[in-house]
C-alpha cells in the first residue's frame, strides 16, 4: 500500500505529464483501473489554468485566436504551473514565455501586449492609496522643487515597447475593431495605474517612461529630469508632471535631503 506522500507525488506528476502511465490502484466502481476517470483530473487542472490565462490575457487571446492560445497556454501551464493557490497572481511569467515560444515569433509585439495586460491585472488588484493633489505642493519653494522625490501609486506600472503595443492592445480590447497597424511606426510606452476604481492606461510622452522609472528608483525630480532628457531630447518636464498628477499616479512627495514621506514633509 503506497504511503500518502508517495501517492500524491505520483498522482500529481502523472497529472501534469500525459506520457506517464496511470498510477497504480486508481479504479472505477468495478475495482479495475480507469484512465478515463483519472483524465478528468488531468483535464480539470490543465483546462482550469488555460481558462485562467484566457481571462487574464484577453487581447492576446483575441490576437492569436482560441486554438493557438490553447496551445500556447498549455505549453506554459505545463512548464510553469502556479506557485501558489492565488490564481490572480498566476501568469506573471507568461509574457516572457510568449517571447520564447517559437510559433509566436512572427508576432514580435505579442509579449509587450501581454505585458500591458499583466500590468493591467496587477494594477486592478493592487493596494489602495490616495493620489496626491497638485495643491499639496503649494507650500514648496520653487527652488526646492528640483530636489524633491515622489512616491508613486502602488498600482502604477510602466510597459516600454519598441512596437506600437499600446495601440495594438487597445484595438483588441472591448469592442474596438482591429485595423492595420504599421509596426515600423515606432515604439510606445504605456502608463498603467488605478488611482480609484478604474484601471487607466495612458500613452507616455517622449522620455516619460524613463522619468517615471527614475522616480520609482527614488531619484529626485532633477535627477529623473536629466535621465529622461538623455533618453529623449524632446522630454517636457511640465507636461509629464501634469500628466502624472492628472493620472493620479503620485501619492506623496519628500525633500530628498529629509527623505520623509507625505505632504507635510
Amino acid at each position: 500500500m503506497p504511503r500518502l506522500a508517495d501517492r500524491q507525488r505520483e498522482f500529481g506528476s502523472a497529472l501534469l505529464d500525459p506520457a506517464r502511465p496511470l498510477p497504480w490502484g486508481l479504479v472505477g466502481p468495478d475495482g479495475e483501473p480507469s484512465l478515463r476517470r483519472f483524465s478528468v483530473y488531468r483535464n480539470n487542472v490543465v483546462v482550469g489554468l488555460i481558462d485562467a490565462l484566457k481571462d487574464a490575457f484577453p487581447a492576446v487571446h483575441r490576437i492569436v485566436g482560441d486554438e493557438f492560445f490553447k496551445g500556447l497556454a498549455h505549453a506554459y501551464v505545463v512548464q510553469e504551473p502556479p506557485a501558489s493557490p492565488i490564481l490572480l497572481d498566476y501568469g506573471a511569467g507568461f509574457p516572457s514565455f510568449i517571447g520564447k515560444f517559437e510559433p509566436a515569433a512572427v508576432l514580435p509585439y505579442l509579449p509587450d501586449v501581454a505585458r500591458i495586460e499583466r500590468a493591467w491585472m496587477e494594477a486592478y488588484h493592487a493596494p489602495e492609496a490616495a493620489s496626491l493633489d497638485l495643491a499639496g505642493l503649494t507650500a514648496l519653494a520653487p527652488d526646492d522643487f528640483i530636489d524633491i522625490g515622489f512616491s508613486l501609486h502602488p498600482s502604477l506600472r510602466i510597459v516600454r515597447s519598441p512596437f506600437p503595443a499600446l495601440t495594438i492592445w487597445r484595438m483588441n480590447t472591448g469592442d474596438d475593431e482591429p485595423a492595420l497597424v504599421d509596426l515600423a511606426s515606432g515604439g510606445e510606452d504605456a502608463l498603467i495605474v488605478r488611482p480609484a476604481a478604474e484601471v487607466e492606461v495612458r500613452r507616455m510622452p517622449p522620455g516619460g517612461a524613463e522619468f517615471v522609472e527614475q522616480l520609482a528608483a527614488e531619484a529626485s525630480v532633477g535627477e529623473a529630469l536629466r535621465a529622461a532628457a538623455r533618453c529623449d531630447e524632446e522630454f517636457d518636464l511640465a507636461a509629464n508632471l501634469a500628466g502624472l498628477f492628472e493620472a493620479g499616479a503620485l501619492t506623496g512627495w519628500r525633500l530628498k535631503a529629509q527623505m520623509t514621506d507625505g505632504k507635510a514633509a
Binding site: G48, A52, P85
Partner: protein, 293 residues
C-alpha cells in the same frame, strides 16, 4: 425583506456564490437574498474592485468564506502563509462561516488547480485531522469541511467516505458542509446510493449545504461519469436529493454555486429562490405533521 444581521450569522436561507459580473447590480438593487459566499483566494489581492465591492456588499449581507487552496488533504504541511492570509480575510470581513474541502492540491511542481481526491485510510485520517486542528487553532474558530465530488476510487481505501468524514468531525470538532451535488456526482460515479449516503452522513454536524450543476459524460466502459462543472442549473435529481436532505435536517443555509458560463443575476437568483421554496415547503409539511400528531 432585507434582514441584515450585524453579527454576520448566516441565516437558514438560500444564498449564491458572488460573481464579479453581478456585483454592480447587487450593490445597486440590494436584492432580497440570505447571504453571499466568496472564494477566499479571489480576495487575496491588496485592493481593487473585488475588495471595494465585497466591502459594500458585506455592509448589507451576511458572508460565507469558502477556501479552495488550503490543501487540507495533502500529506505535506499546510502553507502557513496561506493560512495567515485567510485569517486576515476573516478579520476583515467577519464571515459567518468558513469552509474548505476534503481534497489536496499542493505538489513539488506547484499548485495543482483542482480539488484532488484522497484515499480513505487511517494515515489520511490522521493527516486531515491534524491539519483541521491546525486550521481551527490559527483561525480561532470552527471550520466546515466539504465532502468531495470524486471520479475514481483508491484501491487502498479502508473507510467508506461517510465514515471517514464522520470520524474527522468527531476527532476535530469541525462542522460539515454537505455538498448535495457532490453527493450525487460521487454516488453516480462510484455506484453508491445517494439517499443512503445522506442517511449515513453525520448530519448533526451539517451547517451549510452546497448545490450546483454537473455535466454528464461516460467512462471507457460506458458507465455514467458526472463532472462537477458548476456551469449550469442544479439538475433535477439533485433537487430531489436536496429536498430529502432538508427533510432530515430542517432548513440549512444553502448556497447555489455557478462558477462557469455564469448566467444573469435574475437566473441565478431564481435558483436560490427555488432552494428557499423547498426549505419552506418541507418546513410547512413538518408543521402539519406536528399539528396532526
Amino acid at each position: 425583506m432585507l434582514q441584515h444581521r450585524k453579527d454576520g450569522t448566516i441565516p437558514a436561507r438560500a444564498g449564491v456564490g458572488l460573481k464579479p459580473s453581478h456585483c454592480r447590480e447587487i450593490v445597486a438593487s440590494k436584492p432580497d437574498i440570505g447571504f453571499f459566499e466568496v472564494h477566499a483566494e479571489n480576495y487575496m489581492g491588496g485592493g481593487g474592485p473585488p475588495h471595494r465591492y465585497l466591502t459594500s456588499i458585506r455592509e448589507h449581507y451576511p458572508l460565507s468564506l469558502h477556501g479552495v487552496g488550503l490543501s487540507i488533504g495533502a500529506d505535506r504541511p499546510l502553507d502557513r502563509g496561506h493560512l495567515a492570509r485567510i485569517r486576515l480575510l476573516i478579520d476583515r470581513y467577519q464571515p459567518g462561516l468558513f469552509s474548505e474541502h476534503l481534497a489536496w492540491s499542493t505538489h513539488d511542481a506547484g499548485f495543482l488547480n483542482d480539488l484532488l481526491p484522497v484515499p480513505y485510510t487511517a494515515e489520511t485520517l490522521q493527516r486531515v485531522s491534524d491539519h483541521i486542528d491546525q486550521v481551527q487553532e490559527v483561525l480561532g474558530r470552527q471550520m466546515l469541511l466539504e465532502n468531495p465530488s470524486t471520479y475514481l476510487a483508491f484501491a487502498e481505501s479502508t473507510y467508506v467516505e461517510t465514515d471517514f468524514i464522520a470520524e474527522v468531525a468527531k476527532r476535530t470538532g469541525c462542522g460539515l458542509l454537505l455538498d448535495v451535488n457532490n453527493v450525487f456526482v460521487a454516488s453516480t460515479n462510484q455506484q453508491w446510493d445517494p439517499f443512503a449516503y445522506i442517511d449515513s452522513y453525520p448530519l448533526a454536524h451539517v451547517q451549510e449545504i452546497h448545490l450546483a450543476g454537473f455535466t454528464r459524460e461516460e467512462d471507457e466502459k460506458a458507465r455514467p461519469l458526472l463532472i462537477d462543472t458548476h456551469n449550469r442549473p442544479v439538475d433535477r435529481p439533485v433537487w430531489e436529493l436536496y429536498a430529502y436532505a432538508i427533510g432530515r435536517l430542517g432548513p440549512v443555509p444553502t448556497l447555489i454555486e455557478w462558477d462557469a458560463d455564469v448566467p444573469s443575476w435574475r437566473e441565478l437568483h431564481a435558483e436560490a429562490e427555488r432552494a428557499e421554496a423547498i426549505m419552506l415547503a418541507v418546513g410547512q409539511q413538518e408543521m402539519r405533521h406536528a399539528a396532526a400528531g
